[in-house]
Symmetry: C2
Subunit: 305 residues, 2 copies
């Protein structure tokens, strides 16, 4: 971990709260964590100026928030508990203020989930801002929820409305970490994913790993007001935006019909409107609209012949 | 973990060897590892085209090797055992062959230390290549060796000759993972670091964390032939190159005089020439040449007044 220009090790040290598992924090060759007792989760996401955010518009603080939050969302997607983060950045040379603001955004998202930033690598260059976060977590006693456990007959749920995130929500990511833990405690989650690529595409990832299909109900998909606004700009339907836009960072999951009925009846997570959007079938990914079923690209998993 | 353009999850899956601790590998929201029993190590390093390598000269395979190897070197610096890696990359758009070669280099370095690549994030953009590796490891039963344990009277060692790495060795990084473990088993290592910033600067990091100083012997510092070659190009002395260049990825460590004498006598690591280059003192960083002692920048730690 070498640092150029903006030496933020002392900055990190002063701002990283004590954490019982952190034995050695920022400033050595590696961070050292006390061993955990549960399966460990590891995820990494790299964000680039001009691709994942436009720095001139978003500002470094929101870029930092997003970089940490999308990783938290990956931990949420497995119903895990985030434990510690490391951050590697390539900073535009000479932009110390940018570095501080970026770090403040990273720190704010980490603080919201009591995650210490235990190390990093700070570099300067002539290129655009790049920030790469790796987040460590651990599973609960119920184990991690993978993408691979959906089965025909399962009900498919989403934790909130989708579409139009480009209007601002794609920066103000609210990772569903606590919600995922509450859901995992309340029901036997067969498979789960967070909506980053798009509701249909991410459900497609579940179907591919689980080797089954699904039928969605067009009328049931919760459409965000931003999807309606985006539709007025693009001419596409709000439903298309809800299914295709991505970066909503809601959770899509499947459960047995019995658990599904109970979740709908009890709505066990305060403030979270759980919506049943479809059911798993043998193969393909379909959408039903006014009694008509049509394939929804991407097609999901098809049995090999 | 979203992937653009070059979808390398299936590539990763086909090429990641089975590992007893990997419960879920590439292709889910997080990788899942079985919990370990020893303290965990975490390190991250980001490399950028034009800063850490010149892609047009080095080629993507050597860039990949370096990106993995510098992280392995950080695990070595704490005498740890590498366990698993995740890789995030920003690829120049449309360069699928580059991506495959880069990954082959990453994989080759990881394979050399039986490290599975358990996840990643592959992105494409209009900018230069950026590759960020996070490596997880674990300490041995003797615990991790930090930078903070050096004390006045300690002997200072280096594991090999330094200087002139820019002539090629800065790409062909040979991380001292096995050597560090052998040293850790053979002696009570008080403090250790790998030479990335430069022999003097990295020893300075040990001194700062340990709150002591050191005196080096100019005649004892092992000078690499590349340092002599570089000196002919730059006009600087080979010793200056050995002390200042960095990216040698040798280990600098301190031990008690009794352990130091034994290490010199027994040379317990086959193929590794351990060299005593100095001794720790109360404060400052000095070099002695033909009986004259002068301060060596960076000055190392000085007692605050």
């Amino acid at each position: 971990m070498a640092a150029d220009e903006f030496e933020y090790i002392s900055w990190l040290r002063a701002r990283t709260p004590a954490h019982p598992r952190v034995l050695v924090g920022p400033g050595d060759d590696c961070a050292v964590l006390a061993p955990g007792t549960r399966p460990q989760l590891v995820t990494t996401d790299m964000l680039m100026d001009g691709v994942d955010f436009v720095l001139a518009d978003a500002g470094p603080r929101r870029a930092g928030w997003k970089a940490m939050a999308v990783n938290l969302s990956d931990i949420a997607a497995m119903a895990g508990v985030p434990v510690a983060a490391v951050v590697a950045v390539a900073l535009p040379a000479g932009e110390r203020r940018l570095a501080e603001e970026l770090y403040a955004g990273l720190r704010a998202a980490a603080d919201a989930f009591a995650v210490p930033v235990v190390g990093g690598d700070t570099n300067a260059w002539a290129g655009p801002l790049v920030v790469s976060v790796t987040l460590l977590g651990e599973a609960t006693d119920r184990g991690p929820v993978t993408r691979a456990g959906a089965r025909p007959g399962d009900w498919v749920f989403v934790t909130g409305p989708c579409g139009g995130s480009l209007l601002g929500r794609h920066l103000a990511v609210a990772p569903r970490v606590r919600e995922a833990l509450a859901l995992h405690a309340a029901a036997d989650l067969h498979a789960m994913i967070d909506v980053s690529d798009g509701l249909a595409a991410d459900l497609g990832h579940i179907l591919a790993e689980s080797r089954c299909g699904a039928v969605l109900s067009a009328a049931a998909v919760p459409v965000h007001p931003d999807a309606v606004a985006r539709g007025r700009e693009t001419g596409k339907s709000p439903l298309d935006h809800a299914l295709g836009d991505g970066e909503d960072f809601e959770l899509v999951f499947t459960v047995s019909p019995a658990d599904g009925e109970r979740l709908l009846r009890e709505q066990p997570v305060p403030g979270l409107a759980l919506t049943k959007i479809g059911e798993c079938v043998d193969q393909g990914l379909w959408i039903e609209d006014a009694g008509t079923r049509r394939p929804l690209a991407p097609a999901g998993w098809a049995h090999e012949v």
